[in-house]
Structures are given as structure tokens and as C-alpha cells.
């Protein structure tokens, strides 16, 4: 990005140069307006979440009432109880967690090693391999779901953890980010270690990795969320509660819409399940949003 002289530099002072000559009230007005807009924006994003929680705590009779009540007249946990009693919600959550944890660990491990190889070593085929990997970024995931289904069906491995973990492990963004990051590390440290006689893997694990915490955290955060929220492939790959993940369970049992059989589920249990599915994710998000933001920023700026 080259800096350019602002076009305004050669022009006469515009009459509306409030920033400099504006009276104090004008400045306060602008600030107040900005804060007002900020509050409205935040409300628009937060209100639906609050509404979700509020509805989940109401008995069904109150939910279908008009005008809508933001604060329940009577609180009840019956929707949550209904969901937990009728569906294997806990099992779905456990499945989601196990799959996400395994996928994240594998992705960070495999992608770090792959990214390092692509960044630091010159070997025949490197360019071709890297270009092929990156090219997959453009391929929408939907292209792969049918063949993936056939592969796992052939192995009689549909409806298993493996079916859910392995396709996620084949992600591309992680390799990309790792490689970028490693390219940015000065080579001197590794050279020094090599002179000291360290082998390649040792250099990798003892010199490079400790420096890579930011990118590893970012890749871990991105992968975990991506695996947690993954929908299309698990929808296809799962046929029983054994491997059913949270998004699929909720969509299949709580989602009802015009066009499906006339048994749209009641809103209370559906929203209770939504709250139960979201609460841990939101909590984790608030605690770890720094890493997540970092990851997105790295993708965005460099990409």
C-alpha cells in the first residue's frame, strides 16, 4: 500500500471543516450521534439472542401470545426438560466436542508440519504441491460431499467419528496460514540451531513451534469453530444418534418449515435446544474471541 498525498492538501479549506473550527456543541452532537448509532447497532445484534433465551423460558401457551413479552410472565424449564428427555441432546453434544477436538488437534499438527515443509524446504514438486493445495480453496466443499459419501459408504464407515473428523482434517486454510507465518520467521534462528547440530524435526519442534503460538492458536480456533458448526457433510454422513452432531440433531428434530410434513415442532423446545447449543459456544467465543479474530484477520489481510 503506497501512501498518497491526500487530494485535499492542495485545496482551499472547505467551509464545512467542522473538525477544526466546529463549535464544541457540534463535536458533542457528532459524538452523541455516533454513540446512539453504536447502541442501536448492538441492540439489533443482541436482541434476537435475548429473545431466544426469553422464549425458551416460557411455557408454550405464553410463547404463542400476542403481543410478545420480552420478560416471561412465568418462568419454566419445561422446554429444556422436554428436549433432554426426548432427544439424545447430550450425546449429540459429546459427539460434536469429540469430533471438534480431534479435528482441531490433527489439523494443527498436520498443517504445521506441512506448512513448514512448504515454507522452509526446497524440493522437487514443492510448487506443484502447493499450487494444488491452494487451488482447493476455490473448490466449494459441496463438490466433495457425494464422492466422500461413496468412499465412506464403501468402507462401511458412515455414521462414525472417522467420517466426520477426516474430511475436516483435509483443510487448506490451515496450511496456507502456517506457511505464511513460517515464511515470516527469520531463518537465522533455525540456521543457528542447525549449526549446533540439531536435526530437522528438533529444529521444528524446539525453535519454530514455540514461536508459532499465535498462528497455531488462530488455526485451532478457526478449525474448532468450523468443525463445530459444520452442517452439510454431517447431515449426509450421519444416520443415527451414535455420531449425530449438534447442528444436525437440532436441524433434523427442531427445524420445521413450510414444505415439510405438517408436524412442525413447537417453538419452546426448539428454542430451548437452540439456547443449550449456543450457550457454550458463545461463552467460549467471548473467552477466546481474540484468537478467533486473529485468525480471521490473518486470512483476510494476507489472503
Amino acid at each position: 500500500m503506497t501512501a498518497r498525498r491526500s487530494a485535499g492538501g492542495a485545496r482551499p479549506v472547505p467551509a464545512s471543516a467542522r473538525a477544526r473550527s466546529g463549535c464544541a456543541a457540534g463535536k458533542w452532537g457528532a459524538a452523541a450521534a455516533a454513540h446512539a448509532v453504536e447502541i442501536v447497532c448492538v441492540l439489533m445484534f443482541v436482541a434476537p439472542i435475548v429473545w431466544m433465551i426469553s422464549t425458551s423460558l416460557k411455557p408454550e401457551g405464553q410463547i404463542l401470545s400476542y403481543p410478545p413479552l420480552w420478560i416471561p410472565r412465568t418462568w419454566t424449564l419445561e422446554n429444556f426438560q422436554s428436549v433432554l428427555a426426548r432427544f439424545a441432546f447430550v450425546r449429540w453434544t459429546v459427539n460434536s466436542i469429540a469430533v471438534a477436538v480431534a479435528a482441531t488437534a490433527l489439523v494443527v499438527a498436520l498443517d504445521a508440519m506441512a506448512g513448514y515443509a512448504l515454507a522452509r524446504f526446497a524440493f522437487p514438486g514443492r510448487s506443484l504441491i502447493y499450487q494444488t493445495i491452494i487451488a482447493m480453496l476455490l473448490v466449494p466443499i459441496q463438490v466433495t460431499v457425494i464422492p466422500l459419501f461413496l468412499v465412506f459408504a464403501q468402507m462401511h464407515a458412515i455414521d462414525t467419528y472417522q467420517a466426520l473428523i477426516l474430511p475436516t482434517t483435509a483443510n487448506v486454510t490451515g496450511v496456507f496460514l502456517m506457511r505464511q507465518f513460517f515464511l515470516g520467521i527469520p531463518a537465522e534462528l533455525e540456521e543457528a540451531a542447525r549449526i549446533d547440530g540439531a536435526g530437522d524435526f528438533r529444529i521444528f519442534s524446539q525453535v519454530v513451534l514455540p514461536l508459532s503460538r499465535p498462528v497455531m492458536a488462530a488455526v485451532a480456533a478457526l478449525t474448532f469453530v468450523s468443525s463445530w458448526n459444520n452442517f452439510l457433510w454431517p447431515l449426509i454422513a450421519v444416520s443415527s444418534d451414535r455420531a449425530r452432531t449438534l447442528p444436525v440433531g437440532i436441524a433434523q428434530y427442531m427445524g420445521g418449515h413450510a414444505g415439510t410434513s405438517g408436524s412442525a415442532p413447537a417453538f419452546g423446545p426448539a428454542l430451548a435446544s437452540a439456547v443449550m447449543a449456543t450457550a457454550p459456544a458463545l461463552v467460549a467465543f467471548f473467552l477466546l474471541q481474540r484468537y478467533f479474530t486473529q485468525g480471521i484477520t490473518l486470512t483476510g489481510i494476507k489472503g
Partner: protein
């Protein structure tokens, strides 16, 4: 083993064996070939067959693609997907930009505001779909209630052909605009303060600073946001599946929804693969468009 830092010697020590890079790469490559690259190729091969889910494949060459070219539902899906793109992409890009601008200012509570606006992104699509199914309910939904307060008639959001896609667009914008905001914020923070200060000292008003400095310097970031937004909105599936299933009628049938319908609800795996590949080709074409933009934009 001590590691002497800053020994800035360019002498390459004895490298490990020539196999080392391959060993580092191997675990990833195995997974990549088996579960990413292989299926991409396999998908193309499948699209050349007629394959019912419980049957055996039969090679039919390009017959699926020919059938697709004269399939009215395919064109409906294409049209709907483009319509969805037109509804959401500008809102997502512009919205992300404006929010980032707003929250880049020294406002009270902006840290919390950024997190809260980004928070919906952490929710899974099924949850977002269910929540908005409820908010958009024709009789008891929150949105119609507030519209009624403004004397705007109740809109049957998810059961009217005209309103269904806008409803899904609205849901999508609420859900994901925070992501774009984060990228724009990062871009904004890379713009050196001195430039904006210099301009203001020179007498430029806030608008001029925006147009002459901020926007041009943000072009690479904007480009990334636009590309990511287009690519993601083109592949929309989750919200449509949960909220309307492609209905009412075929009003919200998108390309991926149609793929899923053909492959897993009508059991034509070959045909579904063909739809997937055509979608892929369109996306490729869209992303190559960037070659026609001014060179300074190409990141």
C-alpha cells in the same frame, strides 16, 4: 543443546536427508489426497455417470450436463442463488465496512460492541435458522409485531414467494456481517494515523478523509471481503435447509439445495455431482473476474 541466537551466519549447515520435507508433508498429504483432492476428481468422474444410490454406476459421458442445460429447476436454482447474492453481498460488504468505520472511532464500549456484533457468527446455522424461523413467524413473530407498530402489514415471511428470499437474506446478514466487520477493522487499523492527521491538518473534512484516504487504502481489504462474501453466499445451504427447505414452491431453491435434493432426496448421484461441478465452474469464473480489475487491487 544450546541454541546460539543471532549467529547471523548464512552458511547452510548439513541438511537432513532429502526425504525430510516429504516426511513432514506426508501425513497431511495423505489426508488431503484421500479426503479433499481425490473426492474433487472423483466428483467429476461421478458426474459422468448415472448412479442411483443403491445401484451401480453407469457411464453416460456428458449426458448429465446436457440434461442440466435444459433443466428448468436448475435455472431456477441459479436465478435464486444470484438473487440471494444480490440481496446479501452488498449488505454484507457495506454493512461490514460501515460497522468497522463506526467501531474504529474512540467510542465508549467499542470493544464490547465489536464482540457483541460479531457474536452471532459463533452460532451454528441450525440455531440461527430456528431462531429466525421464530422471529419471522407470520402470526407471533417479533418482526411482524414491530412492523405492525409501524403500520406495515404482517408479512408472511417464509410462506410467500416474494418475501422468502429476503427473509433468508436478512437472517444471513445478521448472522455473518460481524465477520466482515472484523476484517475491515483489521484493514482500517493498518492505515497509518499520520495520513489521516495530515489530511485533517490540511483542512480536509471527515468525508474527504474517508473518500480520499480510507477507501482507497482499504481496497485490498475490500477486495478480500468481496471475494469471500461472494464465494460464501454462492454456496448457501444451511439456512435455506433449516428455514424453508427450498420453498415455498421453488422460491428459495439454491444451487447447493438443488444438488442435495437431486443427490440425496431423488437419489441421482451422478446428476447431483454435475450440479456441484457447474457451481464450481461458476465460482471459478467469478473469482477470475478479479483479473479484469485495476492492477492495484489484485492482492
Amino acid at each position: 543443546m544450546s541454541i546460539l541466537p543471532a549467529l547471523a551466519s548464512r552458511r547452510a549447515g548439513v541438511r537432513g536427508s532429502a526425504a525430510t520435507p516429504y516426511l513432514f508433508l506426508l501425513p497431511y498429504l495423505v489426508v488431503f489426497v484421500l479426503f479433499r483432492f481425490g473426492p474433487v476428481v472423483g466428483g467429476f468422474l461421478t458426474s459422468l455417470t448415472s448412479w442411483s444410490i443403491v445401484g451401480t454406476p453407469r457411464f453416460v459421458g456428458l449426458a448429465n450436463y446436457r440434461a442440466l442445460a435444459s433443466d428448468p429447476l436448475f435455472y431456477t436454482a441459479l436465478k435464486n442463488t444470484c438473487y440471494f447474492l444480490v440481496l446479501t453481498a452488498p449488505a454484507l460488504v457495506l454493512g461490514g465496512f460501515l460497522l468497522a468505520l463506526l467501531l474504529n472511532r474512540p467510542l465508549w464500549g467499542r470493544g464490547a460492541a465489536r464482540v457483541l456484533i460479531f457474536a452471532p457468527y459463533a452460532m451454528m446455522s441450525a440455531v440461527v435458522g430456528i431462531l429466525w424461523n421464530w422471529i419471522l413467524d407470520s402470526n407471533f413473530g417479533l418482526l411482524n409485531f414491530y412492523l405492525a407498530r409501524l403500520h406495515l402489514g404482517p408479512i408472511p415471511w417464509l410462506s410467500s414467494e416474494a418475501a422468502a428470499m429476503p427473509a433468508i437474506a436478512l437472517t444471513t446478514v445478521w448472522w455473518t456481517v460481524g465477520y466482515n466487520m472484523v476484517i475491515f477493522l483489521a484493514g482500517l487499523q493498518e492505515i497509518p494515523h499520520e495520513l489521516q492527521e495530515a489530511a485533517r491538518i490540511d483542512g480536509a473534512g471527515a468525508w474527504q478523509v474517508l473518500w480520499s484516504i480510507t477507501v482507497p487504502l482499504l481496497r485490498p481489504t475490500t477486495f478480500v471481503v468481496v471475494m469471500l462474501t461472494i464465494i460464501n453466499t454462492f454456496q448457501v445451504f444451511d439456512q435455506v435447509y433449516v428455514m424453508t427447505g427450498g420453498g415455498p414452491g421453488t422460491a428459495t431453491l439454491t444451487l447447493v439445495q438443488y444438488l442435495y435434493f437431486q443427490a440425496f432426496e431423488t437419489f441421482r448421484l451422478g446428476y447431483g455431482s454435475a450440479i456441484a461441478y457447474v457451481t464450481f465452474a461458476i465460482l471459478l469464473a467469478l473469482s477470475w473476474l478479479h483479473r479484469f480489475l485495476p492492477s492495484e487491487v489484485a492482492a
